[in-house]
Amino acid sequence: MMGINLFQILNGLTFAALIFIVASGFTLIFGLLRIVNLAHGALYLVGGLAGYSAAKASGSFVVGALAAMALVAALGAVLDRGLLSFVRGVELRQVLLTLGVAFILNDISLVIWGGDTFSVPVPAALRGAMWIGGVMYPKYRIFVLVLGLLVFTALWLLLNKTRLGALIRAGVDDPEMVEAMGINIRRVFLGTFMLGAALAGLGGVVGGAFLTLYPSADAEILVFSLAVVIIGGRGSLVGAALGALLVGLLNAIGQVMFPELAYFVIFGPMAVLLAFRPLGLFGRAA
């Protein structure tokens, strides 16, 4: 019995790590640029598929991941510069524009990859299972857990210990003013957007290796990201980490304890939480 418990907790943690990687990109863009990028899921999917092709072609998981991040960051740049710059500052328009982009990206990936189910090949060293605290557990999932922690640390340092972090936040509050202070705010936004997008691409490759990639995988990961960010509170990295943890564990344990209630297990507590803290655990009023 003990074994099963640890097993389920590991499941929750590793799943949480993956959705954190994806959701951190989402929260970066959402929290700091105030853009609810509903194309984030599509970037995840496209990144994953591109990573799959690159990994297949090169035989290397790392090459796949890098290729995916680069491609998706470039897509992010196009999205930001080419499209979002037309609707800057109007939240609702941005949301809906990214939704349109999500449709397009999703459809394009269907044309290119044909809608079969793909899984990114995992390097040999990470294949198979290992013993942890008395349970057999896949090595790859442990790797995902470690990667999640690394991403968290790196982002935290970037935002809180660098000037860039402050710049980004100021730009969100009043871009005109930042511009008037001599900073090319557009470039800062672009950089942030590309970073957020690249994280979606990374998530696509990492997640694509065990959750597989298929049409509508974008919507599912997006829903998880939304839940994470809503629970954690806009723009809070720590919130996103906590939210991911909560969603991951609820998902894992909820499915065991209340198999009938699948989605309710995640969104029910979320709704209750929001009734008391409308801005999420770490959300601050603007």
């Binding site: 000037r163 402050a166 710049l167 936040r169 100021a170 969100v172 509050d173 009043d174 005109e176 003013m177 930042v178 511009e179 008037a180 202070m181 001599g182 900073i183 090319n184 705010i185 601050r284 603007a286």
Partner: protein, 234 residues
Amino acid sequence: MLEIRDLHSFYGEAHVVQGASLTVRDGEVVALLGRNGMGKTSLIRSVMGLSAPQVRQGSVAWKGEVLTGMKSHEIAGRKIALVPQGRRLFPSLTVTEHLTMIKSARARNGWTVDRVMELFPRLAERRQHRGNQLSGGERQMLAVARALMIDPELILMDEPSEGLAPVMVQHLEGIIARLKEAGLAILLVEQNLYSALAVADRVYVIETGKIVHEADASALVDNPQSLIRFLGVH
């Protein structure tokens, strides 16, 4: 030297700056006076290259270089700072972050966070407050402090004394004087006539987007009646 020549600016079809010309010489404090809605802010914004109002005619030159048509971050890069009307702080940044977010390019006047805090001791006590957690006066101080951090040679101040306690207004006058001593040129929009006269070398009066009067401040200090006539006080 800042030279504004026959500037025309528009909000859509509304012609708000209608051929204003004025000059600010190096190291000079120039006050721009005028009733509400006469186009003072619009003029300042046009100089700063902000997206509205749109400049359709005339030119702004700084040290002989034409600024019209430049992006506002490029203008700021030429050491022109703005203290906007209504302060426009960043609600999600702390006081300290407001001051450290820009890394000033090799400080000529050497404005550092510490030096600025010395000028505004009140801010030093509020370092961790966010932009929207400050009182009106504190906000104004921070707005000026923030502008100093880009090490400007010209500051455009749009009604900096608005909402300040008398003691703060005097403090601000002192600050403007000290900035002037440090060699900065200042274009100051003011409602408070006396405060303006206390610090300015010259004053301009703007009415419906046109400069209607120009005078030396020293000549007015003892006899402000002529100016008051222009400002429409009875």
